[in-house]
């Protein structure tokens, strides 16, 4: 009989052999991954969607405590403050113009002096330490008791020490002088800093003299030149202010006009806080009572038990009388009207007296007066809104679901850990994330796609072998390292470049900050390049070879083939690559947390493209920054989960569309 080619033998259990077990093992691993994914989704969704009921309740508290009412008046005051501030800046721009030259010299002197001190900091430190020691020794010498035998023995030791220190101090003083004289010749000492107006050329020798004088170890006072300059500047400002005395008086009157409303507001604010405390204490009373009772149950010491029970009895669960606690707000409506009416009229009268834009000389004053016009309109609107608002406000008006959801999705404030009321509005962090991602994409896509086309189609074999691993290596750089690079090197360089004079036409230049949307966007672009590059290259590889060969055979050049045949065929794969690159960018946390500047405010788009020079906060950044502090299960915690959920949805959408696009490619 012939032996069968394959013999069934070896390990068997429950009718399964080794191969079956291996199969089950791998299958099991795959399904485990899916189970974990589902668990994560469920957990995230549960925590996140509990946010809406809680948020709704929180908004209700905000209304029932009357805080909403108080904020109507608060908004009126803020509108006034903004108006006043812009007019005030315009006023000072006019006054300071008179002493521009003196101020620029003073400023430059301060800058150079600071630089010189920093550059010689080491020797300064030693010098000052020795001076301190010398003082100690002198004190010791004075404290000695000439009667005491023991003390007298110490005298020579201390004397010797004193002499040593004195000579050292002298040496260091000389050294310091020499160092300062050396340092002041260097360029580093004349680094005036961001956005500083240059002093007139002829002042430089004087500045140098003043700095040398002030930096020397013996200096006590300012150089007479500086003293004099300060006086001149002060005098000039005084003269200028006298010319503008009417303007100043108007400003003062504006400040005075708001005062009654302000004190009214702060009175009501205290009431609102009191009410909030009552509401919060009511909502936690039941748990507190239960907690004391539970504590009493487990307590072994009878005295302790008694105390805990007494505490439990002290907790009163009583729903506050909403009508009653809000009565004060209803009663204050007429008073508000009484204050707001004359206030508005007074402000209108005062605003008339502010100089027009063509009556001021400086650019800054013109700009700020223009801002003032916008703020004045807003101020008027706020007042009429406020008047209506307080009249119609009811503490028991219900909040619709739409209202509560849209106050999250379209809310313009994200304020947490507030002493007044926390607001969770997605818009500032959402726009921040989006803007940064768009910048990153618009920089990364051209680079990555061009590199992929070159490497895949045009490069020689040796170039391919070098460029591909080099680009893919970028992915291996930890994002926290990139973040530090962004703060210390890239941000600093970017800011320095933005100061260059012939680059001032670039929107947003010169940049005041080094942690900005632009900085974060460019670093993220760098991070996204490998993702987009690799996937684009794959897409081009997937284009059937026959297409290119046919094209070449028909007599097309290499470049024609690439741009007319290969790239158009692979374009859907390239779109998928870009989408996945976007997914990579919007989910990145560390870099944006370190580099974006963390300003929770919707970027000011009125600056056009210059918006990129502003700092912003992001969805990922806010989760990383705030999740560590919050109590599990609190509203704040849930809000952060909700932000996470939205990020998750964005990623899901991006991946989904990428796959759809890719499927289309496979059909070709």
């Amino acid at each position: 009989m012939k032996e069968p080619a394959f013999k069934r033998r070896g390990f068997q259990f429950l009718g399964l052999n080794t191969q079956d077990f291996i199969r089950i093992f791998f299958g099991g691993n795959a399904s485990l991954a899916i189970v974990v994914l589902v668990l994560i989704c469920v957990f995230l969704a549960r925590e996140a969607f509990m946010f809406f009921p809680d948020h709704h309740k929180d908004l209700k508290t905000y209304r029932q405590s009357g805080q909403e009412f108080v904020d109507y008046i608060g908004d009126e005051i803020t509108a006034h403050t903004n108006l006043y501030s812009s007019l005030n800046i315009a006023y000072y721009a006019e006054v300071n113009k008179s002493s521009k030259e003196e101020d620029s010299i003073l400023r430059a002197t301060r800058a150079v002096l600071a630089n010189v001190e920093n550059l010689t900091a080491k020797t300064w430190g030693r010098f000052e330490r020795d001076l301190d020691k010398l003082e100690d020794v002198n004190d010791d010498l004075e404290d000695l008791d000439s009667e005491s035998e023991e003390d007298r023995a110490k005298i020579p030791v201390l004397q010797a020490e004193k002499a040593r220190l004195e000579s050292e101090v002298d040496l260091l003083r000389e050294k310091l002088k020499k160092e300062i004289a050396e340092v002041i010749e260097s360029d580093a000492a004349w680094e005036l800093g961001v956005g500083t107006a240059k002093p007139p050329e002829e002042a430089y020798p004087k500045i140098k003299e003043a700095v040398l004088f002030a930096a020397s170890p013996e200096a006590d006072d300012d150089h007479p030149y500086i003293e004099n300059l300060k006086d001149v500047a002060r005098e000039k400002k005084k003269v200028a202010a006298e010319q503008l005395v009417a303007y100043k008086d108007t400003l003062k009157a504006m400040q005075a006009a708001v005062r009654p409303l302000k004190s009214f507001h702060s009175e009501l604010r205290d009431k609102g806080l009191e009410n909030k405390k009552k509401l919060v204490s009511f909502s936690t009373a039941a748990t507190r009572k239960k907690a004391w009772e539970k504590g009493a149950e487990v307590a072994e010491d009878p005295a302790e038990k008694e105390r805990m029970l007494a505490e439990a009895a002290k907790v009163v669960i009583e729903e506050p009388d909403y009508e009653g606690i809000n009565q004060v707000f209803y009663d204050s409506v007429p008073r508000h009207a009484e204050l707001a009416g004359p206030f508005e009229m007074e402000m209108a009268k005062l605003y008339e007296q502010i100089p027009a834009r063509d009556e001021v000389a400086t650019k800054s004053a013109k700009e700020n007066l223009k801002r003032g016009e916008v703020f004045y309109k807003r101020f008027e609107n706020r007042l009429s809104e406020g008047r209506e608002g307080v009249k119609e406000w009811r503490h028991d008006k219900s909040i619709s679901v739409v209202e509560s959801v849209s106050s999250f999705l379209f809310g313009r404030d994200w304020i947490s850990n507030s002493s007044w009321h926390d607001f969770y509005g997605l818009l500032p962090i959402f726009t921040g994330s989006l803007l940064i991602s768009l910048i990153a994409l618009s920089v990364a896509v051209p680079f990555a796609v061009a590199a992929a086309i070159y490497v895949n189609q045009l490069a020689s074999f040796r170039e391919q072998n070098f460029i591909k691993p080099a680009i893919e290596f970028i992915e291996a750089i930890p994002s926290v390292v990139l973040g530090f690079f962004g703060i210390l090197v890239f941000g600093e360089t970017l800011r320095a470049v933005s100061q260059v004079e012939w680059l001032q036409w670039v929107p947003g230049f010169p940049m005041a900050e080094r942690l900005t949307i632009l900085n974060a966007g460019l670093l993220l672009a760098f991070m996204a390049v490998p993702t987009i590059f690799t996937l684009t290259e794959d897409a081009l590889n997937n284009v059937p070879k026959a297409f290119a060969e046919n094209s070449l055979a028909m007599g097309a050049t290499k470049l024609q083939t690439v741009f007319r045949v290969v790239v158009p065929t692979g374009v859907s794969g390239m779109i998928a690559a870009v989408l996945l690159g976007f997914g990579r960018i919007i989910g990145e946390t560390m870099v944006v947390l370190l580099v974006a500047g963390n300003k929770i405010k919707i970027p000011d788009f009125t600056e056009g493209l210059g918006v990129v020079a502003q700092p912003a906060h992001t969805m990922t950044g806010i989760i990383a920054q705030e999740l560590g502090e919050v109590d599990a299960g609190s509203l704040h915690w849930r809000a952060l989960f909700m932000v996470g959920m939205i990020l998750f949805c964005i990623s899901l959408l991006v991946n989904f569309s990428a796959q759809r696009v890719l499927k289309r490619l496979q059909k070709v």
Binding site: T81, R110, K277, P428, N598, G628, E629, V630
Partner: protein, 269 residues
């Protein structure tokens, strides 16, 4: 080679678990960056057989930590909030407050700035966003860049209470991770302003300015308007023995006071 490594690993595992008590301290960055680690080192040097685990991620984390681990110590640069006390009561726990040191919060500006002092009202205006330009407070014109701590920080909260009349921070403020970062940004930005603990005001490039004409000096602690106490928090009856011993030492020993002073705070005694 591998074998010896494994033996060392196992041995160190046992050493960690057996011989010493472990004290876990979490919370404020202000206390946890320098003061507490140095106290811990000195405490060990003084011959106490303990190990420390210290994490400084913001005062709020002190309380989440204490609820998870009642035997540990929380450090906080602000007073515990009512809502936080309630979460403890709800768990049948009672909180105990130890004053660890006093701190003054310095308002810092770039050293190249011409500002030589601010009133408390101006500080409030700047941090709430009412004042946006240096010219409004007597400096050279330029938009003010405001750097603050992030919301989990106790300094964020205590500054709000002491210097800002409990008003919210302006939306233009930038939230930095710690004292160091604030000092770093202000040092690099001529229009910057920020606040840091007393210990951080010595950094190059920044200067602490007098507030209401009171200079930031330890001897002015009484008059300076933005001064506060730094706390340790523990759960009554749950604190480990080693932890209690350490706290007693840290708040009373001469050596501890010396360290507190060296890192720029004012000792309790």
């Amino acid at each position: 080679m591998k074998k010896t490594l494994a033996i060392i690993a196992v041995a160190s595992l046992f050493a960690g678990a057996n011989a010493e008590d472990k004290i876990v301290i979490k919370g404020s960055d202000t206390l946890g960056a320098k003061m507490v680690p140095q106290l811990a080192e000195a405490y060990k040097e003084a011959g106490n057989e303990v190990t420390f685990e210290i994490a400084a991620e913001g005062s709020s984390t002190a309380f989440t930590h204490l609820q998870a681990e009642p035997a540990g110590i929380g450090m906080s640069s602000r007073n515990i909030k009512d809502s936080e006390v309630e979460t403890f009561t709800a768990k049948g726990m009672e909180i105990k407050d130890w004053t660890g040191a006093y701190d003054m919060i310095g308002v810092i500006v770039n050293e190249k700035s011409g500002i030589e002092g601010l009133t408390l009202e101006q500080v409030e205006g700047i941090f709430t966003g009412d004042i946006t330009d240096w010219s409004e407070v007597g400096g050279d014109a330029g938009p003010i860049s405001v750097y603050t701590r992030n919301t989990s920080s106790g300094t964020y909260k205590s500054f709000q209470e002491m210097a800002m009349n409990k008003r919210d921070y302006g939306s233009d403020t930038q939230k930095m991770a710690g004292n160091e970062q604030i000092a770093e940004e202000v040092a690099k930005n001529a229009n910057g302003i920020g606040y840091v603990g007393l210990a951080y005001t010595e950094k190059d490039g920044i200067k602490a300015i007098p507030v209401d004409d009171v200079e930031l000096k330890p001897e002015n602690a009484k008059d300076y308007p933005i001064a506060r106490s730094l706390h340790y928090y523990t759960v009554k009856g749950k604190l480990s023995e080693a932890g209690a011993k350490f706290l007693a030492w840290a708040t009373s020993a001469d050596k501890a006071a010396e360290i507190v002073e060296r890192v720029g705070f004012i000792p309790v005694k």
